[in-house]
Protein backbone atom coordinates (compact mmCIF):
# COMPACT_ATOMS: atom_id res chain seq x y z
CA UNK A 1 0.00 0.00 0.00
CA UNK A 2 2.79 2.33 1.03
CA UNK A 3 4.67 1.38 -2.12
CA UNK A 4 1.69 2.21 -4.32
CA UNK A 5 1.40 5.63 -2.66
CA UNK A 6 5.08 6.23 -3.30
CA UNK A 7 4.70 5.18 -6.94
CA UNK A 8 1.77 7.58 -7.40
CA UNK A 9 3.72 10.39 -5.77
CA UNK A 10 6.76 9.67 -7.91
CA UNK A 11 4.59 9.61 -11.01
CA UNK A 12 3.28 13.06 -10.21
CA UNK A 13 6.81 14.35 -9.69
CA UNK A 14 7.99 12.81 -12.94
CA UNK A 15 5.07 14.31 -14.83
CA UNK A 16 5.91 17.73 -13.47
CA UNK A 17 9.58 17.62 -14.39
CA UNK A 18 9.43 15.84 -17.76
CA UNK A 19 8.91 18.89 -19.95
CA UNK A 20 9.86 19.63 -23.54
CA UNK A 21 13.26 21.24 -23.74
CA UNK A 22 13.79 21.65 -27.44
CA UNK A 23 11.60 22.70 -30.28
CA UNK A 24 13.16 22.97 -33.72
CA UNK A 25 10.88 21.89 -36.48
CA UNK A 26 7.57 22.21 -38.13
CA UNK A 27 5.43 20.31 -35.68
CA UNK A 28 2.16 21.99 -35.04
CA UNK A 29 1.88 20.72 -31.43
CA UNK A 30 4.73 20.80 -28.94
CA UNK A 31 5.87 17.43 -27.67
CA UNK A 32 4.79 16.76 -24.11
CA UNK A 33 5.43 13.81 -21.91
CA UNK A 34 4.28 12.64 -18.53
CA UNK A 35 5.79 9.62 -16.91
CA UNK A 36 5.52 7.62 -13.77
CA UNK A 37 7.82 7.70 -11.95
CA UNK A 38 11.02 9.64 -11.40
CA UNK A 39 11.89 8.20 -8.00
CA UNK A 40 11.97 4.43 -7.75
CA UNK A 41 12.58 3.23 -4.20
CA UNK A 42 14.23 -0.11 -3.46
CA UNK A 43 13.06 -1.80 -0.27
CA UNK A 44 13.27 -5.48 0.76
CA UNK A 45 10.22 -6.42 -1.33
CA UNK A 46 11.38 -4.61 -4.50
CA UNK A 47 11.19 -6.79 -7.60
CA UNK A 48 11.50 -4.23 -10.36
CA UNK A 49 8.92 -1.65 -11.33
CA UNK A 50 7.30 -0.02 -14.31
CA UNK A 51 7.98 3.32 -15.95
CA UNK A 52 5.33 4.57 -18.34
CA UNK A 53 5.45 7.68 -20.53
CA UNK A 54 2.31 9.49 -21.60
CA UNK A 55 1.96 12.76 -23.51
CA UNK A 56 0.86 14.64 -26.59
CA UNK A 57 2.69 14.87 -29.88
CA UNK A 58 2.12 16.22 -33.34
CA UNK A 59 0.08 13.67 -35.35
CA UNK A 60 2.67 13.63 -38.12
CA UNK A 61 5.70 12.59 -36.08
CA UNK A 62 7.22 9.28 -35.08
CA UNK A 63 8.31 8.86 -31.47
CA UNK A 64 11.41 7.36 -29.91
CA UNK A 65 11.70 6.95 -26.13
CA UNK A 66 15.15 6.29 -24.66
CA UNK A 67 15.77 5.49 -21.01
CA UNK A 68 19.47 5.22 -20.16
CA UNK A 69 22.05 5.58 -17.43
CA UNK A 70 24.99 7.96 -17.82
CA UNK A 71 27.89 6.79 -19.96
CA UNK A 72 30.51 4.94 -17.98
CA UNK A 73 33.27 2.35 -17.97
CA UNK A 74 32.71 -1.42 -17.98
CA UNK A 75 35.07 -4.40 -17.95
CA UNK A 76 33.82 -7.86 -18.91
CA UNK A 77 35.58 -11.20 -19.23
CA UNK A 78 35.93 -12.60 -22.72
CA UNK A 79 35.52 -16.32 -23.29
CA UNK A 80 37.57 -18.00 -25.96
CA UNK A 81 38.89 -21.41 -26.97
CA UNK A 82 42.09 -22.66 -25.38
CA UNK A 83 43.88 -25.59 -26.98
CA UNK A 84 41.22 -25.75 -29.66
CA UNK A 85 38.42 -27.23 -27.52
CA UNK A 86 38.28 -25.73 -24.03
CA UNK A 87 36.12 -22.64 -23.47
CA UNK A 88 37.41 -20.38 -20.73
CA UNK A 89 38.11 -16.75 -19.89
CA UNK A 90 40.92 -15.58 -22.13
CA UNK A 91 40.98 -11.85 -21.49
CA UNK A 92 39.05 -8.71 -20.63
CA UNK A 93 36.93 -6.48 -22.84
CA UNK A 94 37.05 -2.83 -21.79
CA UNK A 95 34.25 -0.48 -22.83
CA UNK A 96 34.28 3.30 -22.41
CA UNK A 97 31.40 5.78 -22.87
CA UNK A 98 28.84 3.03 -22.53
CA UNK A 99 25.59 3.18 -20.53
CA UNK A 100 24.96 0.40 -18.02
CA UNK A 101 21.24 0.50 -18.84
CA UNK A 102 19.87 1.36 -22.29
CA UNK A 103 16.15 0.98 -23.07
CA UNK A 104 14.80 2.13 -26.42
CA UNK A 105 11.26 1.91 -27.69
CA UNK A 106 10.00 3.63 -30.83
CA UNK A 107 6.85 3.75 -32.95
CA UNK A 108 8.91 2.44 -35.90
CA UNK A 109 12.39 0.94 -36.11
CA UNK A 110 14.88 3.83 -35.71
CA UNK A 111 16.72 2.87 -38.93
CA UNK A 112 13.44 3.20 -40.87
CA UNK A 113 12.79 6.77 -39.73
CA UNK A 114 16.28 8.19 -39.21
CA UNK A 115 19.51 8.23 -41.24
CA UNK A 116 22.59 6.82 -39.47
CA UNK A 117 24.10 10.29 -38.97
CA UNK A 118 21.02 11.48 -37.08
CA UNK A 119 20.91 8.27 -35.04
CA UNK A 120 24.58 8.76 -34.18
CA UNK A 121 23.97 12.37 -33.17
CA UNK A 122 21.39 11.37 -30.54
CA UNK A 123 22.77 7.90 -29.86
CA UNK A 124 19.53 6.24 -30.92
CA UNK A 125 19.71 2.50 -31.61
CA UNK A 126 22.35 -0.18 -31.16
CA UNK A 127 24.22 0.80 -34.35
CA UNK A 128 24.62 4.35 -33.06
CA UNK A 129 25.67 3.03 -29.67
CA UNK A 130 28.28 0.84 -31.36
CA UNK A 131 29.71 3.89 -33.12
CA UNK A 132 29.67 5.82 -29.83
CA UNK A 133 31.34 3.24 -27.58
CA UNK A 134 35.12 2.93 -27.31
CA UNK A 135 36.16 -0.72 -26.99
CA UNK A 136 39.50 -2.39 -26.39
CA UNK A 137 41.15 -4.63 -27.36
CA UNK A 138 39.57 -4.91 -30.82
CA UNK A 139 41.59 -5.58 -33.97
CA UNK A 140 39.39 -3.89 -36.58
CA UNK A 141 35.80 -2.64 -37.14
CA UNK A 142 34.60 -6.19 -37.86
CA UNK A 143 36.07 -7.39 -34.56
CA UNK A 144 34.46 -4.44 -32.79
CA UNK A 145 31.08 -5.27 -34.35
CA UNK A 146 31.43 -8.91 -33.28
CA UNK A 147 32.22 -8.08 -29.65
CA UNK A 148 29.62 -5.33 -29.54
CA UNK A 149 27.06 -7.92 -30.66
CA UNK A 150 28.21 -10.17 -27.82
CA UNK A 151 27.96 -7.22 -25.44
CA UNK A 152 24.36 -6.56 -26.52
CA UNK A 153 23.49 -10.25 -26.03
CA UNK A 154 25.03 -10.15 -22.55
CA UNK A 155 23.16 -6.96 -21.59
CA UNK A 156 19.83 -8.12 -23.02
CA UNK A 157 20.14 -11.44 -21.18
CA UNK A 158 20.61 -9.46 -17.97
CA UNK A 159 17.61 -7.22 -18.80
CA UNK A 160 19.81 -4.14 -18.92
CA UNK A 161 19.40 -3.42 -22.65
CA UNK A 162 16.15 -3.44 -24.57
CA UNK A 163 15.30 -2.23 -28.06
CA UNK A 164 11.94 -2.67 -29.70
CA UNK A 165 9.57 -0.99 -32.13
CA UNK A 166 5.86 -0.63 -31.50
CA UNK A 167 3.97 -0.99 -28.27
CA UNK A 168 2.75 2.65 -28.29
CA UNK A 169 -0.92 3.32 -27.72
CA UNK A 170 -2.03 6.19 -29.90
CA UNK A 171 -5.36 7.95 -29.59
CA UNK A 172 -7.09 9.92 -32.34
CA UNK A 173 -5.64 13.36 -32.99
CA UNK A 174 -7.69 16.26 -31.69
CA UNK A 175 -6.95 19.91 -32.47
CA UNK A 176 -3.65 18.97 -34.07
CA UNK A 177 -2.45 17.00 -31.04
CA UNK A 178 -2.24 13.25 -30.63
CA UNK A 179 -2.12 11.62 -27.19
CA UNK A 180 0.31 8.68 -26.83
CA UNK A 181 1.24 6.19 -24.14
CA UNK A 182 3.99 3.59 -23.71
CA UNK A 183 5.61 1.72 -20.83
CA UNK A 184 8.89 0.06 -19.91
CA UNK A 185 9.18 -2.84 -17.49
CA UNK A 186 11.85 -1.52 -15.14
CA UNK A 187 14.33 -4.32 -14.31
CA UNK A 188 15.27 -5.13 -10.72
CA UNK A 189 18.80 -5.64 -12.03
CA UNK A 190 19.18 -1.88 -12.61
CA UNK A 191 21.38 -0.61 -9.77
CA UNK A 192 20.60 2.48 -7.71
CA UNK A 193 21.55 5.69 -9.49
CA UNK A 194 20.32 8.40 -11.84
CA UNK A 195 18.81 7.60 -15.22
CA UNK A 196 17.57 9.88 -17.99
CA UNK A 197 14.36 9.40 -19.96
CA UNK A 198 14.33 11.15 -23.33
CA UNK A 199 11.43 11.37 -25.77
CA UNK A 200 12.35 12.25 -29.38
CA UNK A 201 9.85 13.45 -32.00
CA UNK A 202 11.02 12.45 -35.49
CA UNK A 203 9.82 13.91 -38.78
CA UNK A 204 11.27 13.71 -42.29
CA UNK A 205 14.42 11.93 -41.08
CA UNK A 206 15.17 14.53 -38.40
CA UNK A 207 14.74 14.77 -34.66
CA UNK A 208 12.60 17.88 -34.34
CA UNK A 209 11.82 17.86 -30.63
CA UNK A 210 12.99 16.13 -27.47
CA UNK A 211 12.10 16.10 -23.80
CA UNK A 212 14.23 14.76 -20.97
CA UNK A 213 13.89 14.08 -17.29
CA UNK A 214 15.91 12.47 -14.53
CA UNK A 215 14.76 9.15 -13.05
CA UNK A 216 16.29 8.37 -9.68
CA UNK A 217 16.55 4.85 -8.30
CA UNK A 218 17.40 4.74 -4.62
CA UNK A 219 17.72 2.15 -1.88
CA UNK A 220 15.74 2.98 1.26
CA UNK A 221 15.35 1.73 4.83
CA UNK A 222 17.13 -1.44 5.92
CA UNK A 223 18.31 -2.19 2.38
CA UNK A 224 20.11 1.17 2.30
CA UNK A 225 21.51 0.63 5.81
CA UNK A 226 22.89 -2.85 4.98
CA UNK A 227 24.35 -1.79 1.63
CA UNK A 228 25.95 1.25 3.29
CA UNK A 229 27.43 -0.80 6.12
CA UNK A 230 28.80 -3.44 3.71
CA UNK A 231 30.50 -0.72 1.71
CA UNK A 232 31.65 1.68 4.41
CA UNK A 233 32.15 -0.49 7.48
CA UNK A 234 33.22 -3.87 6.16
CA UNK A 235 34.86 -5.08 9.38
CA UNK A 236 31.75 -4.54 11.52
CA UNK A 237 29.54 -5.94 8.76
CA UNK A 238 31.76 -9.04 8.51
CA UNK A 239 31.75 -9.60 12.30
CA UNK A 240 27.94 -9.24 12.47
CA UNK A 241 27.57 -11.68 9.55
CA UNK A 242 29.83 -14.24 11.26
CA UNK A 243 28.21 -13.90 14.69
CA UNK A 244 24.74 -14.22 13.14
CA UNK A 245 25.79 -17.37 11.29
CA UNK A 246 27.36 -18.84 14.45
CA UNK A 247 24.23 -17.99 16.43
CA UNK A 248 21.94 -19.52 13.82
CA UNK A 249 24.09 -22.67 13.63
CA UNK A 250 24.14 -23.14 17.42
CA UNK A 251 20.47 -22.24 17.71
CA UNK A 252 19.37 -24.85 15.21
CA UNK A 253 21.82 -27.34 16.75
CA UNK A 254 20.27 -26.81 20.20
CA UNK A 255 16.73 -27.17 18.86
CA UNK A 256 17.58 -30.40 17.06
CA UNK A 257 19.64 -31.62 20.02
CA UNK A 258 16.65 -31.23 22.35
CA UNK A 259 14.50 -33.01 19.84
CA UNK A 260 16.58 -36.15 20.27
CA UNK A 261 18.93 -35.73 17.34
CA UNK A 262 21.87 -36.74 19.50
CA UNK A 263 22.40 -39.93 21.35
Amino acid sequence: MKRKTLIAFAAALFAFFLVPVLGAGTASASLTAKANHDHITIDFFYNGSEVSVRGISDPGVELVVKLASADGHQVLKEKGKVGGFLWMNVGSLKLEDVPNLYYLQSTKKPEEILPQAEMDKYCIGYSALCNHVVMSPVKDPADKAKWFGEFISFKETNNMYFNTAGGFKMEDAKDGARPYYMKFKWPYQAPPGDYVATVYAVKDGKVIEQATSKVQVEQVGTVKMLAGMAKNNGALYGIISILSALGAGFGVGLVFGKGGGAH
Binding site: K77, K79, V90, L246
Partner: protein, 307 residues
Amino acid sequence: MHLYLPVALTSINVLIPVGLGLAVGLLSGLFGVGGGFLMTPLLIMFGIPSTVAAATDSNQIVAASTSGTYAHWKVGNVDFKMGLYLLVGGFTGGIAGVQGIKILQAMGNADFVIKMTYVLMLGLVGAYMLIESLYSMKKKTAAVSVEKPATVSSMGRFLASLPLQTRFEKSGVTHSAILPIFFGWVVGVLAAIMGVGGGFLMVPVMVYILRMPMHVVVGTSLFQILFTCIEVTFLQAYTNHSVDFTLAVLLLLGSTIGAQIGAVFGRKLKAEQLKIFLAVIVLAVTVKIIFELTTTPSLLLSLGGGH
Protein backbone atom coordinates in the same frame (compact mmCIF):
# COMPACT_ATOMS: atom_id res chain seq x y z
CA MET B 1 7.77 -14.07 -2.53
CA HIS B 2 10.76 -12.08 -3.76
CA LEU B 3 13.34 -10.34 -1.58
CA TYR B 4 15.83 -7.71 -2.70
CA LEU B 5 19.49 -8.41 -1.91
CA PRO B 6 21.27 -5.14 -1.00
CA VAL B 7 24.83 -6.21 -1.91
CA ALA B 8 24.08 -8.56 -4.82
CA LEU B 9 21.79 -5.79 -6.19
CA THR B 10 19.27 -8.31 -7.39
CA SER B 11 15.91 -9.71 -6.38
CA ILE B 12 15.33 -13.41 -5.73
CA ASN B 13 12.46 -15.72 -4.89
CA VAL B 14 13.08 -16.66 -1.24
CA LEU B 15 12.29 -20.32 -1.91
CA ILE B 16 15.38 -20.61 -4.14
CA PRO B 17 18.10 -19.81 -1.54
CA VAL B 18 16.22 -21.57 1.26
CA GLY B 19 15.86 -24.69 -0.91
CA LEU B 20 19.48 -24.56 -2.05
CA GLY B 21 20.59 -24.11 1.57
CA LEU B 22 18.57 -27.12 2.66
CA ALA B 23 19.99 -29.34 -0.10
CA VAL B 24 23.63 -28.28 0.33
CA GLY B 25 23.31 -28.27 4.16
CA LEU B 26 22.11 -31.87 3.95
CA LEU B 27 25.27 -32.80 2.02
CA SER B 28 27.35 -30.86 4.52
CA GLY B 29 25.98 -32.75 7.53
CA LEU B 30 26.16 -36.02 5.64
CA PHE B 31 29.68 -35.84 4.21
CA GLY B 32 31.50 -33.11 6.12
CA VAL B 33 31.96 -30.89 3.07
CA GLY B 34 31.12 -27.19 3.02
CA GLY B 35 29.37 -27.56 -0.30
CA GLY B 36 30.93 -24.46 -1.83
CA PHE B 37 31.80 -26.39 -4.98
CA LEU B 38 28.05 -26.95 -5.44
CA MET B 39 26.47 -23.84 -3.94
CA THR B 40 28.55 -21.13 -5.61
CA PRO B 41 27.82 -22.27 -9.21
CA LEU B 42 24.13 -22.73 -8.33
CA LEU B 43 23.89 -19.19 -6.95
CA ILE B 44 25.58 -17.81 -10.07
CA MET B 45 23.07 -19.77 -12.16
CA PHE B 46 20.25 -17.93 -10.33
CA GLY B 47 21.68 -14.51 -11.16
CA ILE B 48 23.92 -13.76 -8.16
CA PRO B 49 27.21 -12.08 -9.20
CA SER B 50 30.09 -14.55 -8.85
CA THR B 51 32.04 -12.53 -6.27
CA VAL B 52 28.96 -12.14 -4.06
CA ALA B 53 28.03 -15.82 -4.54
CA ALA B 54 31.44 -17.07 -3.35
CA ALA B 55 31.68 -14.66 -0.40
CA THR B 56 28.11 -15.16 0.79
CA ASP B 57 28.44 -18.92 0.48
CA SER B 58 31.36 -18.77 2.95
CA ASN B 59 29.10 -16.88 5.35
CA GLN B 60 26.33 -19.46 5.19
CA ILE B 61 28.84 -22.32 5.51
CA VAL B 62 29.79 -20.81 8.90
CA ALA B 63 26.19 -21.46 10.00
CA ALA B 64 25.88 -24.89 8.37
CA SER B 65 29.23 -26.11 9.69
CA THR B 66 28.47 -24.74 13.20
CA SER B 67 25.21 -26.65 13.14
CA GLY B 68 26.89 -29.75 11.72
CA THR B 69 29.92 -29.59 14.05
CA TYR B 70 27.61 -29.23 17.04
CA ALA B 71 25.57 -32.24 15.96
CA HIS B 72 28.70 -34.36 15.45
CA TRP B 73 30.34 -33.10 18.66
CA LYS B 74 27.28 -34.22 20.64
CA VAL B 75 27.90 -37.78 19.50
CA GLY B 76 31.67 -37.58 19.95
CA ASN B 77 32.60 -37.41 16.27
CA VAL B 78 34.95 -34.40 16.31
CA ASP B 79 38.71 -34.84 16.71
CA PHE B 80 39.60 -31.31 17.87
CA LYS B 81 43.33 -32.07 18.10
CA MET B 82 43.51 -33.29 14.51
CA GLY B 83 41.28 -30.42 13.40
CA LEU B 84 43.65 -27.86 14.92
CA TYR B 85 46.72 -29.35 13.20
CA LEU B 86 44.87 -29.37 9.88
CA LEU B 87 43.78 -25.80 10.47
CA VAL B 88 47.36 -24.62 11.02
CA GLY B 89 48.36 -26.16 7.69
CA GLY B 90 45.20 -24.96 5.95
CA PHE B 91 45.64 -21.32 7.03
CA THR B 92 49.25 -21.11 5.88
CA GLY B 93 48.45 -23.05 2.69
CA GLY B 94 45.62 -20.64 1.93
CA ILE B 95 47.97 -17.68 2.15
CA ALA B 96 50.47 -19.44 -0.14
CA GLY B 97 47.69 -20.31 -2.60
CA VAL B 98 46.47 -16.72 -2.80
CA GLN B 99 50.03 -15.60 -3.58
CA GLY B 100 50.26 -18.35 -6.21
CA ILE B 101 47.10 -17.08 -7.89
CA LYS B 102 48.55 -13.57 -8.00
CA ILE B 103 51.66 -14.90 -9.76
CA LEU B 104 49.53 -16.89 -12.24
CA GLN B 105 47.37 -13.85 -12.94
CA ALA B 106 50.46 -11.80 -13.65
CA MET B 107 51.59 -14.54 -16.05
CA GLY B 108 48.16 -14.43 -17.72
CA ASN B 109 47.18 -18.10 -17.42
CA ALA B 110 45.40 -18.16 -14.06
CA ASP B 111 42.03 -19.17 -15.47
CA PHE B 112 43.48 -22.18 -17.29
CA VAL B 113 45.33 -23.41 -14.18
CA ILE B 114 42.27 -22.88 -11.97
CA LYS B 115 39.93 -24.79 -14.28
CA MET B 116 42.37 -27.61 -14.86
CA THR B 117 43.13 -27.94 -11.14
CA TYR B 118 39.40 -28.06 -10.47
CA VAL B 119 38.70 -30.77 -13.05
CA LEU B 120 41.74 -32.86 -12.15
CA MET B 121 41.26 -32.70 -8.38
CA LEU B 122 37.52 -33.36 -8.51
CA GLY B 123 37.96 -36.13 -11.07
CA LEU B 124 40.81 -37.86 -9.24
CA VAL B 125 39.25 -37.58 -5.80
CA GLY B 126 35.81 -38.70 -7.03
CA ALA B 127 37.14 -41.61 -9.08
CA TYR B 128 39.48 -42.83 -6.32
CA MET B 129 36.79 -42.68 -3.64
CA LEU B 130 34.27 -44.47 -5.83
CA ILE B 131 36.65 -47.27 -6.86
CA GLU B 132 38.06 -47.72 -3.37
CA SER B 133 34.62 -47.78 -1.72
CA LEU B 134 33.19 -50.23 -4.23
CA TYR B 135 36.26 -52.44 -3.81
CA SER B 136 36.07 -52.44 -0.02
CA MET B 137 32.31 -53.18 -0.12
CA LYS B 138 32.97 -56.09 -2.46
CA LYS B 139 35.74 -57.32 -0.17
CA LYS B 140 33.41 -57.26 2.83
CA THR B 141 30.66 -59.17 1.04
CA ALA B 142 33.20 -61.82 0.10
CA ALA B 143 33.46 -62.39 3.88
CA VAL B 144 37.00 -63.56 4.03
CA SER B 145 37.20 -65.78 7.07
CA VAL B 146 40.96 -65.90 7.39
CA GLU B 147 42.35 -62.57 8.48
CA LYS B 148 45.72 -61.76 7.03
CA PRO B 149 48.38 -60.61 9.47
CA ALA B 150 48.74 -56.83 9.40
CA THR B 151 51.54 -55.78 7.09
CA VAL B 152 53.29 -52.46 7.22
CA SER B 153 54.01 -50.86 3.85
CA SER B 154 57.17 -48.89 3.11
CA MET B 155 55.06 -45.73 3.09
CA GLY B 156 53.72 -46.69 6.51
CA ARG B 157 57.25 -47.24 7.81
CA PHE B 158 58.31 -43.87 6.41
CA LEU B 159 55.36 -42.08 8.07
CA ALA B 160 56.09 -43.83 11.36
CA SER B 161 59.70 -42.70 11.18
CA LEU B 162 58.76 -39.02 11.03
CA PRO B 163 59.47 -36.97 14.17
CA LEU B 164 56.83 -35.45 16.51
CA GLN B 165 54.70 -38.60 16.64
CA THR B 166 51.51 -37.95 18.55
CA ARG B 167 48.41 -39.93 19.44
CA PHE B 168 45.01 -38.72 18.19
CA GLU B 169 42.75 -40.44 20.70
CA LYS B 170 39.42 -39.60 19.12
CA SER B 171 40.51 -40.92 15.74
CA GLY B 172 42.43 -43.81 17.22
CA VAL B 173 45.54 -43.12 15.10
CA THR B 174 49.12 -42.10 15.75
CA HIS B 175 50.86 -39.77 13.31
CA SER B 176 53.66 -37.26 13.18
CA ALA B 177 52.21 -33.76 13.78
CA ILE B 178 53.95 -32.81 10.53
CA LEU B 179 51.56 -35.04 8.55
CA PRO B 180 48.21 -33.24 9.17
CA ILE B 181 49.93 -29.86 9.01
CA PHE B 182 51.54 -30.74 5.65
CA PHE B 183 48.34 -32.13 4.10
CA GLY B 184 46.32 -29.29 5.58
CA TRP B 185 48.77 -26.96 3.84
CA VAL B 186 48.41 -28.79 0.49
CA VAL B 187 44.62 -28.66 0.71
CA GLY B 188 44.84 -24.97 1.71
CA VAL B 189 46.91 -24.19 -1.40
CA LEU B 190 44.54 -26.08 -3.71
CA ALA B 191 41.43 -24.63 -2.06
CA ALA B 192 42.75 -21.10 -2.48
CA ILE B 193 43.58 -21.76 -6.14
CA MET B 194 40.12 -23.18 -6.80
CA GLY B 195 38.31 -20.64 -4.63
CA VAL B 196 36.57 -23.26 -2.49
CA GLY B 197 36.68 -24.32 1.17
CA GLY B 198 38.39 -27.60 0.34
CA GLY B 199 36.13 -29.99 2.26
CA PHE B 200 35.91 -32.41 -0.66
CA LEU B 201 39.73 -32.58 -0.66
CA MET B 202 40.16 -32.66 3.10
CA VAL B 203 37.74 -35.57 3.59
CA PRO B 204 39.73 -37.97 1.34
CA VAL B 205 43.00 -36.83 2.95
CA MET B 206 41.64 -37.73 6.37
CA VAL B 207 40.15 -41.03 5.21
CA TYR B 208 42.94 -42.37 3.02
CA ILE B 209 46.12 -40.73 4.29
CA LEU B 210 45.42 -40.06 7.95
CA ARG B 211 43.35 -43.28 8.18
CA MET B 212 40.68 -41.71 10.40
CA PRO B 213 37.28 -43.40 10.84
CA MET B 214 34.71 -41.96 8.38
CA HIS B 215 32.31 -40.64 11.02
CA VAL B 216 35.07 -38.78 12.87
CA VAL B 217 36.27 -37.47 9.52
CA VAL B 218 32.89 -35.81 8.84
CA GLY B 219 32.73 -34.04 12.21
CA THR B 220 36.40 -33.01 12.16
CA SER B 221 36.14 -31.75 8.58
CA LEU B 222 33.17 -29.57 9.53
CA PHE B 223 35.10 -28.21 12.51
CA GLN B 224 38.01 -27.27 10.26
CA ILE B 225 35.71 -25.80 7.58
CA LEU B 226 33.98 -23.66 10.23
CA PHE B 227 37.17 -21.79 11.05
CA THR B 228 38.32 -21.52 7.44
CA CYS B 229 34.98 -19.98 6.46
CA ILE B 230 34.98 -17.55 9.40
CA GLU B 231 38.33 -16.25 8.12
CA VAL B 232 37.14 -16.10 4.49
CA THR B 233 33.86 -14.37 5.41
CA PHE B 234 35.66 -11.68 7.36
CA LEU B 235 38.26 -11.08 4.64
CA GLN B 236 35.60 -10.96 1.90
CA ALA B 237 33.45 -8.53 3.91
CA TYR B 238 36.40 -6.35 4.87
CA THR B 239 38.34 -6.23 1.60
CA ASN B 240 35.83 -6.94 -1.19
CA HIS B 241 32.52 -5.84 0.47
CA SER B 242 30.93 -8.80 -1.27
CA VAL B 243 29.08 -10.62 1.53
CA ASP B 244 25.30 -10.30 1.15
CA PHE B 245 23.94 -10.74 4.65
CA THR B 246 20.32 -11.03 3.47
CA LEU B 247 21.19 -13.81 1.04
CA ALA B 248 23.31 -15.53 3.70
CA VAL B 249 20.36 -15.50 6.13
CA LEU B 250 18.08 -17.07 3.50
CA LEU B 251 20.69 -19.73 2.72
CA LEU B 252 21.42 -20.55 6.34
CA LEU B 253 17.71 -20.90 7.12
CA GLY B 254 17.87 -23.99 4.95
CA SER B 255 21.47 -25.10 5.48
CA THR B 256 21.47 -25.23 9.30
CA ILE B 257 18.41 -27.49 9.28
CA GLY B 258 19.78 -29.47 6.34
CA ALA B 259 23.08 -30.03 8.19
CA GLN B 260 21.22 -31.46 11.18
CA ILE B 261 19.13 -33.78 9.02
CA GLY B 262 22.32 -34.82 7.18
CA ALA B 263 24.12 -35.60 10.46
CA VAL B 264 21.21 -37.75 11.68
CA PHE B 265 20.82 -39.47 8.32
CA GLY B 266 24.58 -40.01 8.03
CA ARG B 267 24.65 -42.08 11.21
CA LYS B 268 22.25 -44.52 9.60
CA LEU B 269 24.57 -45.06 6.62
CA LYS B 270 27.71 -47.18 6.45
CA ALA B 271 31.08 -45.50 5.81
CA GLU B 272 31.35 -47.06 2.34
CA GLN B 273 27.88 -45.86 1.41
CA LEU B 274 28.77 -42.32 2.51
CA LYS B 275 31.97 -42.39 0.46
CA ILE B 276 30.15 -43.72 -2.61
CA PHE B 277 27.48 -41.00 -2.40
CA LEU B 278 30.11 -38.27 -2.02
CA ALA B 279 32.17 -39.73 -4.87
CA VAL B 280 29.14 -39.77 -7.17
CA ILE B 281 28.34 -36.12 -6.37
CA VAL B 282 31.97 -35.05 -6.89
CA LEU B 283 32.10 -36.95 -10.21
CA ALA B 284 28.77 -35.43 -11.33
CA VAL B 285 30.18 -31.94 -10.68
CA THR B 286 33.34 -32.90 -12.61
CA VAL B 287 31.28 -34.03 -15.61
CA LYS B 288 29.25 -30.80 -15.48
CA ILE B 289 32.44 -28.69 -15.48
CA ILE B 290 33.92 -30.70 -18.38
CA PHE B 291 30.64 -30.24 -20.29
CA GLU B 292 30.75 -26.48 -19.69
CA LEU B 293 34.39 -26.30 -20.72
CA THR B 294 33.85 -28.11 -24.02
CA THR B 295 30.45 -26.75 -25.09
CA THR B 296 30.19 -23.42 -26.90
CA PRO B 297 28.77 -20.99 -24.31
CA SER B 298 25.59 -19.06 -25.14
CA LEU B 299 27.31 -15.85 -24.03
CA LEU B 300 30.96 -15.06 -24.74
CA LEU B 301 31.08 -12.30 -22.13
CA SER B 302 30.63 -12.48 -18.37
CA LEU B 303 31.07 -10.27 -15.35
CA GLY B 304 34.59 -10.23 -13.94
CA GLY B 305 35.51 -11.54 -10.52
CA GLY B 306 34.64 -15.24 -10.53
CA HIS B 307 36.51 -18.29 -11.69
